[in-house]
């Protein structure tokens, strides 16, 4: 039905898509996997019209089409569900659903809000979401937003007579397990009407949902696997071009921590509206993992350790004494390093180069009386580029132009080179390809060996289990259960989920 034939796309210096063939049949769910930089997002952008192919052709039911913009793609029944934050938060749900297609509700130049609300309710029913369409989007939870996103794409049903192709870009990254299940069952139902292209880093989900899986590497499709033949190992092998270490999470490198010393002590700490009555100790060499759903208070705890949140009650001690003021400077001064989830916004400064980013948190170490010793900065950057195998042409490269994994390495290098020994990791492997993930896992182990304590909010439960010495399960801001996980004696997925929900 929908076909790409020998599609080519080049950017200055990059051959992003190399003669890609891609097809999807009516009612089919096609998975698309590949490492970061393999060309997945470029391919998707070509499909939904954000990019135009340089070579090859796109056909729908045999007819050649060419999209100048996403709008034209939509007119041919191609819609895109973006990662979580693609709804405009200051608009109502119904405005978001019909954004760009308000004309159908306009009579004599006036928007008929009632008609739009009714139509929006119809769309929301399709995704089984029972909310008032006039709700301002910022008041919704992330999961609800994801469903609204899907409802929005499903307006194509009414608008387009022919077949639909819906792209799902990492739709599950912010969803809890049961929400994922709901989404999947919805998608399966909807195959009566539409075909889906499903992009995710979570291999298990791709395997579960897809009829066929396209594997991409270096801008080319290296394999197409049918659902029944799909094996995680084989696919990962194709993606990475090598075998994935059986000991993915580096469990064999896990060493016992030093329980005599305490880096961070939480004693019945609460932050109003975020979490309450949390206690734990973090020891040198320990990976302490906070597990819970979105909104369970995980991030707020990280931010409290860093000094960005002020506890409303209880005491927080970092290296033996509590903060006098809640700000990040004091945290950094005591050796706390924060690797935020929003890497591009909070992790690196887009617009500053590699060495500038690496010394940002520790400029004092590279300056005399406020005057920078730039030579030393560069030397530091070179050392860490080598040590962490950061892929950058030189130290002058703008960090905004690096790939996600390399950006993350720069962030980690920033803290480690500054001697931080309490490292807060918020989704450190989010959006990274397998190779980069393994590098991060290696670094976590190395940091532990160096005596650093790590508080981790992991991307997946497997990751949490694999990496941690200690797991705290949280639910709605309250402590549920503590697990100790020494190598070979780790809690199971089921144990955790049981306490999370």
């Amino acid at each position: 039905m929908y076909q790409l034939n020998q599609v080519d796309k080049k950017f200055p210096g990059v051959h992003a898509l190399k003669a890609v063939d891609f097809e999807i049949g009516r009612g089919e769910i096609v998975g698309l996997v590949g490492e970061n930089g393999a060309g997945k997002s470029t391919l998707m952008k070509v499909i939904y019209g954000a990019y135009q192919a340089d070579g090859g052709s796109i056909t729908i039911d045999g007819k050649t089409v060419r999209f100048q913009n996403p709008r034209q793609a939509m007119d041919h029944g191609i819609g895109m569900v973006f990662q979580e934050q693609s709804l405009i938060t200051n608009l109502t749900v119904m405005e978001n659903i019909f954004l760009g297609f308000e004309q159908q509700f306009v009579r004599w130049g006036v928007i008929d809000w009632k008609a739009m609300a009714e139509a929006a309710r119809h769309q929301l029913r399709k995704v089984k979401l029972d909310i008032d369409p006039a709700t301002i989007t910022s008041k919704l939870s992330f999961a609800q937003r994801q469903l609204v996103e899907l409802a929005k794409v499903l307006t194509l049903e009414e608008r387009i007579d022919g077949d639909l192709v819906i792209l799902l870009d990492e739709p599950t990254s912010v969803l809890a397990k049961e929400e994922v299940e709901l989404l999947f069952s919805l998608v399966r139902e909807l195959t009566s009407r539409a075909s889906f292209i499903f992009v995710s880093h979570r291999m298990d989900e791709v395997l579960e949902l897809s009829d066929r899986i396209y594997v991409m590497k270096d801008g080319a499709v290296v394999d197409v696997v049918a659902h029944d033949d799909a094996k995680v190992d084989a696919i990962q092998h194709k993606m990475v071009g090598r075998d994935v270490d059986k000991e993915y999470y580096r469990e064999q490198k896990q060493q016992p921590y030093d329980s005599d010393k305490t880096l961070v002590r939480f004693d019945s700490v609460s932050v109003a509206g975020k979490y309450k009555d949390i206690s734990f100790d973090l020891h040198p060499g320990e990976v302490l993992c906070l597990v819970g759903t979105e909104g369970s208070g995980r991030e707020a705890i990280l931010r409290t350790v860093f000094g960005l949140e002020k506890p409303t009650s209880g005491t927080v001690e970092v290296k033996g004494s509590s903060f006098s003021r809640a700000n990040a400077q004091e945290g950094v001064a005591r050796g706390v390093g924060y690797v935020p989830r929003e890497r591009k916004v909070e992790g690196i400064v887009n617009g500053m180069n590699v060495y500038e980013n690496m010394t940002l948190s520790q400029m004092g170490n590279y300056a005399s009386k406020g005057i920078l010793r730039i030579g030393e900065e560069k030397a530091l950057a070179k050392k860490w580029i080598e040590r962490l195998a950061i892929k950058t042409p030189d130290v002058y490269k703008d960090c905004g132009g690096l790939s996600g994994g390399n950006q993350q390495k720069v962030v980690l290098a920033k803290w480690r080179s500054g001697g931080s020994d309490i490292i807060l990791l918020d989704h450190p492997t989010r959006g990274l390809d397998i190779g980069a993930k393994e590098d991060v896992y290696d670094m976590i182990r190395e940091m532990c060996d160096d005596g650093a304590g790590i508080v981790l909010v992991a991307d997946t439960l497997e990751e949490a289990i694999g990496l941690s010495h200690t797991i705290l399960v949280l639910k709605d801001g309250e402590f549920q259960k503590r697990f100790d996980g020494s190598p070979g004696d780790k809690p199971s997925l089921y144990d955790l989920v049981h306490h999370m929900i």
Partner: protein
């Protein structure tokens, strides 16, 4: 790719093209001493623009600079006799404090700098009007020459104003590119949240940036006051918009983190060339304003580097 490499030099190229254009039409423009004098005369404007660069570099704007300069002309004139050369310290201190207060209102009270600095400007203007007794004041010529005569005049054919401007530019450049403060400014301008998450004291950095712009405004006002040997609450009017234009034309966009003081140097020169071209090319009096606007659009269109701007707002 070649165009990519040219980008950082576009402001320079624009400047050279403009100079050649004016010179081609009227060759008398190329008189070196006259050009030197031309540049020397815009020094107060340039200093003002230098200060504005700091505010714009962190993604804000300082609309109080003109009124700070007005206030300083009055302060300098009123207290010159009493404090002599040390009146400069009072002036600079006043500029610093006003700028810091603007910065505090912006960062701690979440009032956008556009409005905060505009309002602080009104307060400075009130001060100037009060202190001047609503009159144009003039300096005692002897006291002026004794304290600040060194600001003007020539050494080996180089006007002292240019030396002062050069020194200030060097200081500003050093601050921007060789100090932790300058690095922090860049981080705040390009990615404020990341700067916070790296443990920088972002509020203090921003307050300092506005304090610096206030300080430079005060220096500009002081020089202007000495040059004109007097002060009143309106003396520096007309500086503000030109200073902003100079920064923008130089290629420091309002988004922050890009550009810098060297860009401002080029921008100021471009503005000055455009302005004196009006005189050299005998542009009709009623057309000057319009032509200034059109050339401005062309100049900005040529000089801004759009590659760093994700969305053009």
């Amino acid at each position: 790719m070649t165009i990519e490499k040219l980008k950082p030099y576009l402001p320079w190229i624009t400047l050279v093209v403009l100079v050649l254009l004016v010179g081609a039409i009227n060759p008398s423009f190329f008189n070196p001493t006259a050009l030197l004098q031309l540049v020397a005369d815009i020094v107060p404007l340039f200093i003002m623009a230098l200060g504005m660069t700091f505010a714009i570099y962190i993604g804000g704007i300082d609309l109080s600079m003109q009124q700070v300069a007005n206030l300083v002309t009055v302060v300098a004139t009123v207290y010159l006799a009493q404090f002599g050369v040390f009146v400069a310290l009072i002036c600079i201190g006043a500029g610093f404090v006003i700028g810091a207060v603007s910065g505090w209102i912006t960062t701690r009270q979440f009032v956008p700098s556009f409005v905060a600095t505009l309002a602080m400007g009104f307060i400075a203007l009130s001060g100037a009007r009060f202190l001047s007794g609503e009159r144009a004041l003039s300096m005692n010529a002897e006291a002026r020459d004794a304290s600040f005569g060194w600001m003007f005049g020539n050494t080996a054919g180089v006007p002292h104003e240019l030396v002062i401007a050069g020194v200030l530019l060097a200081i500003a450049w050093f601050l921007q590119s060789r100090t932790t403060f300058g690095r922090a400014l860049k981080a705040v301008g390009a990615g404020e949240l990341a700067a916070v998450a790296s443990g920088l004291n972002v509020d203090r950095i921003k307050i300092m940036a506005f304090a610096l712009s206030g300080t430079f405004a005060a220096i500009a006002g002081l020089m202007f006051s000495v040059k004109l040997s007097g002060g009143d609450a309106n003396l520096a009017n007309g500086f503000l918009i030109l200073a902003i234009v100079a920064v923008l034309v130089g290629g420091t966009p309002l988004t922050g983190g890009v550009g810098g003081v060297i860009n401002t140097l080029v921008g100021t020169l471009i503005v000055v060339v455009i302005r004196s071209a009006m005189v050299y090319l005998e542009v009709d009096a009623t057309m000057q304003q319009m032509i200034f606007g059109i050339i401005l659009i062309i100049a900005i269109a040529m000089t801004i580097d759009r590659s760093k701007m994700r969305i053009v707002k």
